[in-house]
């Protein structure tokens, strides 16, 4: 809290009021203003007075305060209260819905929400809804969403902070609420609806209203959207630069559409390859070489992120059979040796490789091949895998100081004839030019 100097007394407030009056052309006020200036004899005192602070500075300071502190500051005096309600401070807002039975955090107070809707709905440009695991929280969020009839949003984010509770809301209620926003926000630029029941018809409404303005769409794990639905988005939203979706929605046609000449250059594409049941073979389709080539040609600086949650060797078969312009790879559950080998053969643009777990076979050949082929690799993460110290040292030797992120769990490295683990740590430190140690876990 900003402490008020003792000088802000009743008399100062009175002179403030007089000063304001004088601005309004009040001649008494003019006299009062002269009095005010005369009353504060040394010039330094005028500068020190809070009430003389230019309002842009005050507004700017308010921007740094979190909402609660800002709200408390607004109770100090009329000027600060006025500043609190300036449109600039209401362009961005996050509605939080947390149920005390399911969350340790607080919700946005209902009175504040009402105030926002009443006084600032038309100022809102960038809105997020954060909900906890409770279905009621998601429902409350949808309720507010459907009241945003006076807002023309540029960005909208629906964020589950724990379980994806938006998925538990009835599709109808959700889509109805979302459509309200789509209809009234005709220049939506960013839309984040991962883990929600958004569907093809609602996306169609969005396209109708914001096809020219849409630049970012994140919709991973949206089970009610079909490949056709996303294709329509790609077709009409030619300024789309960032897209996140599940692999099941990715098609050759989609990639080709995104690579058409009229289409803006794609900056970020994130693809989640998910298999929810380790016992099921998913039989993923394969994307053709031509599609990847078109993408690479049209958007040469594309950040292509692929997150794999795949459990079976067979499920990796359709991937990396041809040159794939992937830059960031995360294997969140498992990766087969053969898939990793193909990464080494076909992913020259790779920047980051993170492997949560593999089997018990050492990954020596695969890792060294990747070091040789992926000249841009900066970042490596290895969880439950096995790698001999020699192979790891060679990896570090090839890539050298470019390896800015190297996170390898302690148990990964296995000593061999050339290096025991401590010798390996030293050698790696030498090659990457900084002191390096693996990720330790407490042994108490």
């Amino acid at each position: 809290m900003f402490p008020l100097p003792r000088r802000t007394t009743q008399s100062t407030k009175r002179t403030m009021r007089q000063a304001i009056d004088s601005e309004n052309g009040n001649s008494d006020g003019q006299r009062a203003k002269r009095q005010l200036l005369r009353a504060k004899a040394p010039t330094e005192e005028i500068i020190r007075d809070w009430s003389n602070m230019p309002s842009e500075i005050l507004t700017h300071i308010f921007q740094f305060l979190p909402l609660w502190d800002r709200a408390r500051a607004s109770l100090v005096c009329r000027l600060w209260n006025k500043t609190f309600h300036l449109p600039e401070l209401w362009q961005t807002f996050t509605f939080e819905f947390n149920n005390p039975n399911t969350s340790h955090f607080k919700s946005t107070p209902p009175q504040l929400i009402r105030q926002v809707l009443r006084r600032h709905a038309h100022h809102l440009q960038s809105v997020s809804f954060k909900v906890d695991s409770n279905k009621e929280s998601a429902e409350a969020a949808c309720q507010i969403l459907s009241q945003l009839v006076n807002s023309s949003l540029k960005t909208l984010g629906l964020i589950s902070t724990a379980k994806p509770s938006f998925q538990e809301v009835s599709r109808e209620d959700f889509v109805t609420a979302l459509t309200v926003v789509f209809v009234h926000s005709k220049s939506l630029s960013q839309l984040r609806v991962d883990d929600t029941p958004v569907d093809d018809p609602s996306l169609a409404v969005m396209i109708q209203n914001s096809s020219d303005s849409l630049e970012l769409l994140n919709m991973t794990s949206c089970p009610h959207v079909s490949p056709k639905g996303i294709l329509a988005v790609a077709d009409h939203c030619q300024n789309l630069r960032e897209l996140a979706l599940n692999y099941t929605l990715l098609s050759d046609q989609l990639l080709l559409t995104l690579s058409r000449e009229e289409h803006a250059t794609l900056e970020q594409l994130r693809i989640d390859v998910i298999s929810s049941n380790p016992n099921e073979i998913m039989q993923f389709h394969q994307i053709s070489k031509d599609s990847w080539q078109s993408v690479a040609k049209h958007s040469p600086n594309l950040t292509l992120v692929m997150y794999f949650y795949v459990h079976n060797d067979e499920d990796f078969a359709p991937f990396f059979q041809c040159d794939t312009p992937v830059t960031h790879l995360f294997f969140g559950a498992y990766v087969s040796k053969s898939a990793l080998r193909r990464v080494g053969l076909h992913c020259p643009k790779l920047i980051e490789l993170v492997v949560c777990a593999n089997g018990t076979q050492p990954l020596d050949d695969e890792v060294v091949l990747i070091a040789k082929s992926c000249k841009n690799l900066h970042s490596l993460g290895l969880g439950e895998c096995e790698l001999s110290c020699s192979a790891f040292v060679e990896f570090a030797k090839i890539l050298g100081p470019n390896l800015t992120e190297l996170s390898v769990m302690e148990e990964v490295l296995v000593g061999d004839n050339n290096f025991d683990t401590y010798e390996a740590y030293s050698a790696v430190s030498k090659y990457i030019g900084r002191y390096w140690m693996p990720e330790y876990m407490p042994v108490v």
């Binding site: 340790h104 984010g157 960013q190 016992n279 683990t421 401590y422 140690m437 876990m441 108490v444």
Partner: protein, 575 residues
Amino acid sequence: MKSTIHWFRKGLRLHDNPSLRDALQMLQPGDVWRCVYVLDPWFAGSSNVGVNRWRFLLQCLEDLDASLRKLNSRLYVIRGQPTDVFPRLFKEWKVSCLSFEEDSEPFGRERDMAVMKLAKEAGVKVILRTSHTLYKLQDIIDVNGGQPPLTYKRFQAILSKMDPPDQPVDSITASTVDNLTTPIRDDHDEKFGVPSLEELGFDTDNLNPVVWPGGETEALTRLERHLERKAWVASFERPKMTASSLLASPTGLSPYLRFGCLSPRLFYKKLTELYKKVKRSNHPPLSLYGQLLWREFFYTAATNNPNFDKMVNNTICVQIPWDKNPEALAKWAEGQTGFPWIDAIMAQLQQEGWIHHLARHAVACFLTRGDLWISWEEGMKVFEELLLDADWSVNAGSWMWLSCSSFFQQFFHVYCPVNFGRRTDPNGDFIRKYLPKLRGFPAKYIYDPWNSPESVQKAAKCIIGKDYPLPMVNHAETSRINVERMKQVYQQLSRYRGAGTQCLLATIPYPDGGNGNPTGHKKHAIVQGMERQHAERREHGQPAHMPLLKRRRWDSHFQAAEARDQSEGDMSNVD
């Protein structure tokens, strides 16, 4: 005639006990000495200390009493709260000196300050010495510029700049107390004897057999065995994890270190001597003392932070939107998750009071960032009750570490409750031992019995869903969602590191010299506000720029600080 009281809390030993030793050496022939343990009755009833921990403690006290008997003294167990007990004792026993071992934990320090004030008022001299930790923790903090190191790497670097820890002091022997007396009353056992579990209100009918016997004698025996085994193996590298590592080991030392039955400085000294003998080298690597250093690390991190065991208002803890879910928590705590690997570990914990550290990682990950997304504070409370070696600092610190709530941990690696166990113990013997219901399952299915055909379940006389629960979550789904959530949280935190917002590893904020902030000073509110604003703007997809303030000035300030920390963090001169 002078009279001294030694107050045992932890440090339940007569070897390397500098506070007791110094107090005794101040006495003249004929003076009186007594050793006291204050048993807080309010504490005994609290369910947050389980029967195994109480039994261990009582065994430690019995052992102390036996050792003191050999020195013609006894242990005085006194019920009550220290601030009530001591003024009474000061008067009754005409005490001139009170000695005790330093307790580095915030609440311990508070309690001790209150007692020291009472001692001062009663004209009692206080002798306080550090012997529960290798170092005076404030020394470590001072070398690190006033803040505790928040990465293990930084911690090791600090220690390597310091002298080795002090040598353990000589044990209290008959000659130390030669001319001193303890006036033992006839009704000593009745008034001051070590209570039994029944007296404390525990039902002793169905107690599990003792796997970890408490006491200094046992601790020292184990120390010898531990060193013998190391010498025999002649390797000081991390031992390879096998199925038998999961079982309680007769050379395990962690509970004894926690209660102070074993002096950490003695252990340190013995390890050093052994290494020098076996390896014929005078430069043991820091990794030799792994167990001791982790303990020291957490004690140091916790000593000035009374909120260390919480998330909210704990400055070093990331605020993660954990779920509140009492039913799920109960299933985890009671070993009813439906994942045999997790349930067997929790069963061992419940029965014996100790689990291997990799087992701890598995169950902690499952409860928090891996599967159930429940707060680490809940897991910490369960461990506090059941785990013999869990004390406040180490327990809270470990839980924060394992849930990726602090200490700059990468979260991409989630332990699989099926595969991790399978890799460690392919045959599943550990599971069969602690979950006898699943004994009939073959190794192929014992880690995921819900996948076995009905015929196998029938043959094993255990139908999944009836005799043993179905898995409480779909690990594939929950772990995927949870990694995403962790990423969401961390993306809001990390200062823009120029590595691109898509780098998974770079979402962990750069550990600035291990302090978490550039110059080791508390972040000014404006800076915090700036970072919040940056994070919010990033969240809303706006570029994180500062319109009015001169950006360059702040940037160069941070850059200079980072450069300073990086050069300090450059450990090329470290052995």
